[in-house]
């Protein structure tokens, strides 16, 4: 019998289609990769030596010597970096000027390296760059919310091969974020606990959906995972905002993220995926009811009409089986 599972944090309902579920290894990428990706491409704006092909640099790590991570403005920014925030109302139409920040984080000088194949130290520099830029963008008085995300592969929305991620600072707080904050607040008021801390506790006690635990983080497949291998990486220590991560958190998250991406890389043959950091809006960085986390979404299936038409999801994999598959994959 299929199950319809509810995610108490996101309020999403997911049909776990057990009767038509596929085995984890059936989601392996079928398209053959080009086996040889060169580590330098003369035309790639993200390759070393082509720094003048990107907009001006905003951050570079390490600060001395050849760069390992660079952040620049996005050449094709969705929002305008300069400009005044203003609102217009006309009938029932509401418009805000499209001002804000849209950066690109170039994760490595090596054109051929997906994030999964970097070292802990190298991924650590990417996370450190996220942290610094996150804190710096929040100082922009127009920015209310910062979203950090990565698109890997065409199905995930990018055609650029060179490893990169993006940061967008918006002058508005997305409704979905506000709705989730409200859900978490109501849980806190009713139960006296952070719903994320509670979820983490239950997942760790049960264990069947846990993929990997490090000193400071736990990666698990949510009970009501939206899609095959959907993963949440929760910090064990309660913090509402990604901006509160410590140096030790950065190092440990780097290791966790690398190992999770490597498990996906090996287990599913370098699948297309997105990841994103879900964090509290600027005005709620200290609240006790919200908890930042990182969400990884392999794009091994597609959203179809049912999902778009109902906001519900059909997952053709069993979360516990996906978790076991990834948990058992050796990566060290």
């Amino acid at each position: 019998m299929p199950e319809i599972r509810y995610n108490m944090i996101t309020r999403e309902w997911v049909v776990i289609a057990t009767e038509r579920a596929r085995r984890p290894d059936e989601f392996r990428k079928k398209i053959k990769e080009r086996t040889e990706i060169p580590s330098f491409m003369p035309d790639c704006p993200f390759c070393p030596g082509n720094e003048d092909k990107t907009p001006p640099e905003l951050l570079r790590l390490p600060s001395e010597g050849p760069w390992q991570v660079r952040i620049t403005s996005n050449k094709f920014a969705a929002l305008e970096r300069d400009g005044r925030l203003s609102r217009t109302t006309s009938g029932i139409r509401r418009t805000v000027t499209g001002v804000g920040i849209h950066d690109v984080i170039i994760e490595t000088p090596d054109h051929s390296k997906p994030t999964a194949l970097l070292t802990d130290h190298e991924v650590g520099m990417v996370i450190e760059a996220y942290r610094r830029r996150y804190l710096s963008v929040l100082e922009d008085g127009r920015v209310e919310q910062v979203t950090i995300f990565k698109n890997h592969g065409e199905a995930a929305g990018t055609s650029l091969q060179h490893s990169h991620s993006q940061l967008i600072g918006t002058p508005i707080i997305p409704t979905e974020v506000r709705d989730r904050m409200e859900t978490a607040l109501r849980h806190y008021d009713a139960m006296g606990e952070c719903i994320f801390c509670r979820t983490l506790e239950e997942e760790m006690a049960g264990g069947s959906r846990v993929v990997l635990e490090t000193e400071r983080f736990v990666a698990f497949v949510p009970f009501a995972a939206l899609s095959p291998f959907h993963l949440w990486i929760f910090p064990k220590r309660h913090e509402a905002s990604f901006g509160s991560v410590t140096d030790s958190d950065v190092a440990d998250l780097a290791r966790m993220l690398r190992l999770i991406l490597l498990k996906l890389y090996r287990g599913l043959s370098n699948p297309d995926f997105n990841y994103t950091i879900r964090t509290a809006p600027k005005d709620s960085a200290q609240v006790r009811y919200y908890h930042w986390y990182l969400s990884v979404i392999p794009r091994v299936t597609r959203l179809a009409g049912f999902e778009l038409g109902s906001g519900m999801f059909i997952n053709i994999s069993v979360p516990e089986e996906s978790a076991q598959f990834l948990r058992d994959l050796p990566v060290e």
Copy 2:
């Protein structure tokens, strides 16, 4: 300057990325279609003569003579047709048994015909089949919400070529549906009007986003369209539920839907798309604050990490330009 537009009905924020927007004809499908699709495929379970390859038939139109439209159970149903509805709670986990209805609507006996190339009369039979089955499924005491949708093409989630759509009756009301009902209710309470009727009035008065008007329906690109050529088809007459459509509505909607799909077919070279009927839950079929409609979403771009991580959208087309492009396309 880009604009961030708000959709008062869905509460979604969309960045209209004017600075990087593409012209409407740049979204035309680039992959060459196989030019010859036969009108009969011996192995296709939806082709005439292969009726025994589908689960038992639930409806057929016309009732006499060769069928034009057939509804059967979905052979790979996400929900179980028979079975008792029950709920389980364990810690913060909530589960409902996966019972419900999952049908397939075979839209034509002709394997080669996309919906866009059917006649008004033929599309009318498809809509009539939707209506009959919609009303019949609502009589199932376990079903709270019925979603009718179509996936056309691989990017829209189907690999089956023969024109078909689907109907899913779920024992729960999706959170997104409840949230939208609540938004509409609050607007009604504050303003004394249906927010959908009001939107329609403003769109018709303005006209810049209207694509087509028939006697009983208006098709327009929403002010805060999520993606290029996102279209809403609203009935002019206020009804919360699709189940309230009359014979005249069915005939007029068939004509509207055919012409809209034909505009997409010609203007964008047979793009992949989804459409879905957004209708009130069973318990709210008569409310004055909600209004059923049909949403069409061409899949010419992909959701990426920003959308998944924030619930906001970036649209790289300008709604008014998309609307004008489709409005000006001749289809008669």
